[in-house]
Symmetry: C2
Subunit: 428 residues, 2 copies
């Protein structure tokens, strides 16, 4: 095992290692930039991903480069931060080391922000038939499946098989599931409408399943109802109180019967990164580790865990939701607490400022809950576009996303409708 040389260059300056360059890790890194600490950011990928728009890559509206940016480019101006690609495999909390295969990275303060993957409720074998949407490679794989389903249907003569190819099931009616269902229905009914000779893409069936009794469970029931109405307008077949019993290459088995479909997308359930198991602490059912109100581990105040991997109690005692504003506010807060403790001051308890939540359901449709006001339809959609543009602008030169959106809003073109081999190579 070799200890990374970089960290031993500056003796005496406290070393902070951040694992994960998602919303949480990146906001911590920014807040520690050009401060009296030496920071190492480790990530498996070289890019930060704007996950809320990942469904647009999966549905061919945007290219990977429109929603992702090299971590190096984002943190370029921070002289005290080094960025290394590394697949972190565990921690040695006694020796204060982050382990990545044969490499190890010593820390004085550790920030773990490794996010979550999909959870298949104890059925990992479902993943090959029903991929989930967390990374750029996931999105490109799903895009390939969606587009190939139409291509295969065009070449298929058996009407039964053709119908199965043109049936798309989305499991889970949270924001991702609702966004995917709306976008797929729109592609079929608008973008692809005149592209084929033997099939009518508008006959595609998009089925959205959830075990709950309404879509967007985290939202106000009134907004759930409005979202369901908007999905119905987009011809999405919403089926509630339906629990999935099996997923295989023919489709989805539910208590109400078998749904034949060649394309199934998983948008139900998250599980925290399995790295949590190598940290000392208590895990909840979703695999998240219990943290203190100062965002660190009870027995290891030098280890902070934030974002989707952390079980952090909110004001009501319930765990905070796994959304980007929580991760970003926690990242900033952890940076403050680390700098305070270096100065000998006490760490302060975190409290989350919830500005509300939004979900979009295709062009012109969305729901928004800003607490003081709840609304839906075009005003909600414009708010959604505005908020996401602000975010993307902050990521720097993302002007082109805006232009692509404006362009495709008026032309209804879907610029990124390319099938590349990534999905095939990875998921077979």
């Amino acid at each position: 095992m070799n200890t990374n040389a970089a960290n031993s260059e500056t003796q005496g300056v406290p070393r902070v290692v951040i694992v994960g360059a998602g919303f949480g890790g990146l906001s911590a890194a920014k807040a520690l930039g050009n401060k009296e600490v030496q920071v190492t950011v480790l990530d498996r990928e070289n890019h930060h991903l704007f996950q809320p728009l990942l469904y647009q890559v999966a549905t061919a509206g945007l290219s990977p480069a429109n929603i992702a940016q090299p971590v190096r480019a984002i943190l370029r101006s921070k002289e005290n931060i080094e960025i290394l690609m590394a697949d972190v495999t565990g921690f040695d909390v006694e020796k204060k080391l982050v382990l990545a295969g044969e490499r190890s990275f010593p820390y004085d303060h550790l920030i773990v922000a490794t996010g979550a993957r999909h959870s298949y409720f104890g059925h990992p074998e479902w993943e090959q038939y029903a991929p989930g949407l967390k990374t750029l490679d996931d999105a490109l794989g799903i895009r390939r499946r969606l587009l190939m389903a139409f291509e295969k249907a065009e070449a298929e003569k058996d009407p039964v098989e053709r119908e199965r190819l043109m049936t798309f099931v989305i499991v889970g009616a949270g924001p991702t599931g609702v966004e995917m269902a709306g976008a797929i229905s729109e592609i079929a009914r608008e973008t692809m409408l005149r592209d084929f000779h033997h099939i009518d893409p508008s006959e595609a069936r998009v089925i959205l399943l959830d075990a709950a009794d309404r879509v967007l469970q985290a939202f106000d029931p009134k907004l759930s109802e409005q979202a369901q109405g908007q999905l119905r307008n987009l011809k999405v077949d919403v089926r509630l109180k339906v629990s999935v019993q099996d997923v295989n290459e023919s489709g989805v088995a539910t208590a109400n019967g078998f749904i034949h479909a060649r394309t199934v997308i998983w948008a139900a359930g998250n599980a925290a990164s399995p790295l949590m198991k190598s940290l000392p602490g208590t895990l909840d059912r979703a695999g998240r580790i219990q943290i203190t109100s100062e965002l660190n581990l009870p027995d290891h105040p030098e280890i902070y865990v934030i974002g989707d991997t952390a079980n952090c109690a909110g004001k009501d005692g319930k765990p905070l939701p796994g959304v980007s504003p929580v991760a970003m506010q926690q990242g900033k807060w952890v940076a403050k607490n680390i700098l305070a403790r270096i100065k000998g001051e006490a760490a302060k308890p975190f409290s989350y400022w919830d500005r509300g939540s939004m979900a979009t359901i295709g062009r012109n449709r969305a729901v928004a809950d800003l607490h003081f006001v709840k609304f839906s339809g075009l005003p909600a959609w414009l708010t959604w576009v505005f908020v996401h543009l602000i975010f993307l602008m902050n990521m720097s030169s993302r002007v082109s996303v805006f232009l692509i959106w404006v362009w495709s809003y008026f032309t209804r073109a879907q610029g990124a409708r390319l099938i590349t081999s990534v999905g095939q190579a990875k998921k077979g």
Copy 2:
């Protein structure tokens, strides 16, 4: 074996099958659009690729969606053209069938435009160490290798290994090799300059090898000399009269010694698609099939072969070069000949109108040979940009490429610097 149903729908109308949706196949399809023929376009991919800009995807300047477009979208307005994804495996010229695995497609007139792949001069085992650049997946794979080389160098402590990681060898100094060498050198010296902590990307060595005594052999010697000067300004190490003896994971063996390099890119030599072997005719050394001046096979006038797969004599008796203008003009001509023969008229001999050639060597640098005038530097570069923009505009909504170029020209940002798994999954 099942014969495709689509083709039997309209009896009596002549059936044209086009294999390949590159420059040649697409220009034939456009010219046959809404004419009294029924056309089927077969391609392995769902997109047409603007290959002259592929090196920009490989060097992270553009995204795949900027230089490629779904074939369906391009030919949408042609009511008589169906497009099917199919991996053509051979031909039954007696029964007049195109074979694709278990499927077959009957034709009255056949246009074969399957292009070329790289040729490793009888050493296919070199490909894994020195990938070539023909498809989007090739480009994403090379991009991954380039970016990963810098990432690995940043984490490497051994100075010898670090130098090998930062050495890039391009084999072949034709237009693609020259463009790649210039672009890699520019990325290292400009885009990435401030991105790393432990390495100085401007110390990257870019070595361009060729067995010939000058770069851009197809150009006027004066332009070759100017291109060499421009490459030197970009700090590209041009080594001529060097023939490659072996390529392995450590680098490239030449008669003048071994060059240690972790990244080698192949831009030397083309071989026509191996499908030519299943057509009746004479193949040349590059695997191209001999065609008549009417662009068809001597013994099978109903089979036309165009573009990089065809050996078509020019005015000087030498075979026409494998460039897009040849393929496009031939595609249009074949369409005319087919329509003429359907009317009972004779096919006419093709002649190529050579408007000249250009190659670009990074920002502001290029060489252009328009026959009546030869020039280089900024004027040549602006001509290059102008010509390529016209092409892209024709491909329809490619406005965003122009905006991305303008943006990155002034900011020197490289928007698409993302590492996705495609290259890894495919080439290991």
